[in-house]
Amino acid sequence: MRVRKNDRIGIILFLLPALILFMVFFIVPIISVISMSCFNWNGISEAEFIGLSNYLKIFSDKVFWTSMRNNIIWALSACFIQVPLALLMALLLSKKPKGWKFFRTVYFLPQVISGIAIAMLWSAVYNSEFGLLNGFLKIIGLEQLTKNWLGNPDTAFICVLVYGLFYIGYYMVIMIAGITGIDDTYYEAARIDGANRIQMDIHITIPLIKYSMLTCVTLAAVFGLRTFEQVYLLTNGGPANRTSVLVLYLYKQMQNNNYGGANASSVMLILTGAVVIVLIRKLFSIKKD
């Protein structure tokens, strides 16, 4: 369908404000980040051009690679645990069982509660001296399993990850919206053919909300890559940088007044994000074919 000239002007005019804001607040800062990543700058003195030295420095820093690995694990767990969990909940709640509105609210609640409040709650759960988890283990006679969950290198990252996995409400709502939009006639036809609920979910619901799922997976991966709040509040990257993530890594570079290094880390974060998004889109389009 050809767009008429007058409509085209209208479209351009409508897009213009958003485009200007996008350029000013997104494209220009990204260009600035890329260029500043080649400078040695403490934020106060004059910046000195040092080429790719900041990149070489962060590549030789094992904390950077630990952070990168943790981010990838975070993004993968968000895509393969968080999103399927959200899908499961969406499938269950879309059938409107008894109390579905209550559960929908409960699952969405973490999204609207302050992250600091939730982090304090979890840090109280994991505390080794008076935490809920150790208390529970003691009650059921498993005292030998009690430990400093957030201070132990073997458990710290898993604990932080588990906390993050509870944020399924956002994806669940997106998928419920997708499910609500499916025409009832599909299900009626399936029922006539003798399909049960699980078969209807697998063969009708899931394929028809594929694009909602794509949105959720993309968002989950992006949120996983830019994770900061949970890690900063629960462990601050510890113990011994075992739970560090890229945003925390670049934040610490900024704390050290190493803005060049922080910008180089940002560039790596942007590149990783771009690669992950391309891979996700490829994955979904392959299935389509």
Partner: protein, 436 residues
């Protein structure tokens, strides 16, 4: 005709959207620059000169009440002329981030504080700090400070800030818990400390309080005391190459054998919680914590406290004290001389000796302002002042004596040391690597 009308409608909607966005920005911009307007007001104007002061001495801080009263007192005394507006900031790390960002973007606040000489050195390069040298040397100001402290805060002969709060660090023992464990005398050496720790641990009392989060503040103070014992008064002279840094790391590692199970990852709240609630017996912090011990500690804790200077190693370097400037006060450079005068008037007001005495007695903090020591009414604070002045030598705490990068690396390096990832030598190497 219809098409033209449609296009016109589109254009109007777009213009309205654009204008509303700009109007929103413009509105906030106006608000943000309100103090800026008064900044450029000339003297002849009757408008009150306002000074913004992002401040950490608010909320639960032990200085909050009296310092708040001081600011109110200043505003009343100069009513209609000057007004200091406090911007409350309760998180120390967030405060440092905010100040660093403001200074680097050329928008240094009218008045602000800094925690370390390293920050002062860095910010002085911005050209955005007011030169206070003449003011601090002027009549009425020169004699207010403890001898030498203002000169020590100079950067290439210029005072961009003056030292205000002094951190005088003491080791604190809960005597009631020591008695319970059968420890009869306050340890004077590390060997005696380990014995006391064993005795406390035997009756399920946490011997020492340690932490690794929030720059590992109290553990950093323990490390500073260990440095004093291992390296003596000149321990910082050779930088991190001094073998005392490795020896002190071994002491600190051993301390983690006698601490709470949540020490790795613990922050100041956890550490204070253990000591204030008598779960732990031995603690170290600045004198300012006395105010909080009185108000937040369990009943009788304050009366059961015994204070001590540093411990000795192999009979050497005992009795040392650890101190450092805890807060420097600086001002953003002002174009308007009237506003500069307002800043100076405020600095004069908050450095008056009688006000400092009140602030000390209420908070337990000590200051770089010269006051009559006998006017300190708090017995423990007075004891700290006495012990520190009797100390054979004093050293700055580690955080105040090394670069920002080393300060920030300390926490991760300490966790690596305690978890056995690195040896004491490796711990020091990790700190050195951060410095490069």
């Amino acid at each position: 005709m219809k098409k033209r009308k449609k296009n016109l409608e589109v254009l109007i909607i777009v213009l309205l959207l654009g204008l509303s966005t700009l109007a929103a920005c413009g509105n906030s911009a106006n608000n943000a620059t309100q103090p800026e307007t008064s900044k450029t007001n000339d003297n002849s104007s009757d408008e009150v000169i306002t000074l913004t002061f992002p401040c950490i001495w608010v909320g639960a801080d032990s200085k909050a009440e009296v310092f708040g009263n001081m600011v109110r007192g200043f505003n009343e005394e100069y009513a209609g002329k000057y007004e200091v507006i406090i911007e409350e900031q309760t998180d120390y790390d967030a405060y440092e981030d905010k100040i660093r960002t403001l200074v680097s973007t050329g928008a240094a606040p009218d008045i602000f504080t800094m925690g370390t000489y390293a920050d002062l050195e860095l910010f002085s390069k911005s050209g955005k700090l007011m030169d206070l040298t003449e003011f601090l040397e002027s009549e009425g100001m020169a004699g207010r400070f403890v001898e030498g402290v203002v000169d020590n805060a100079k950067i290439e002969g210029v005072n961009y800030a003056f030292p205000y709060e002094n951190a005088v660090i003491s080791i604190m023992f809960n005597e009631r818990l020591l008695d319970e464990a059968g420890v009869e005398a306050i340890p004077q050496t590390y060997e005696e400390l380990w014995e006391a720790c064993e005795a406390l641990q035997a009756i399920n009392i946490i011997p020492t309080t340690q932490m690794t989060n929030d720059n590992a503040w109290t553990s950093m103070l323990w490390y500073s005391y260990a440095l004093a014992a291992c390296g003596g008064p000149d321990v910082y002279e050779n930088g991190l190459d001094d073998p005392a840094f490795v020896e002190a790391a071994e002491i600190l590692k051993k301390m983690f054998d006698y601490t709470s199970s949540d020490a790795i990852g613990a922050d100041a709240t956890v550490v204070n919680g253990h000591f204030f609630n008598e779960r732990a017996a031995i603690y170290t912090n600045g004198s300012w914590i006395l105010g909080r011990i009185q108000t937040e500690g369990v009943e009788g804790l304050y009366d059961n406290l015994a204070l001590s200077a540093g411990l000795s190693v192999n009979g050497e370097n005992g009795g040392a004290y650890v101190n450092a400037v805890q807060a420097y006060i600086a001002a953003g450079i002002q174009e308007d001389p009237a506003k500069e005068e307002a800043v100076k008037a405020f600095f004069k007001y908050i450095t008056e000796a009688d006000k400092i005495v009140e602030l000390s007695n209420s908070s337990g903090a000590l200051f770089a302002i010269d006051i009559d020591a006998s006017s300190i009414t708090d017995p423990l604070l007075s004891e700290i002042a006495q012990q520190s002045s009797d100390a054979p030598f004093m050293i700055g705490h580690f955080q105040a004596s090394v670069s920002t990068a080393v300060v920030n690396e300390f926490s991760a390096a300490l966790e690596s040391l305690v978890l056995g990832d690195v040896t004491a030598e490796g711990f020091v190497e990790q700190l050195k690597a951060a410095d490069e």
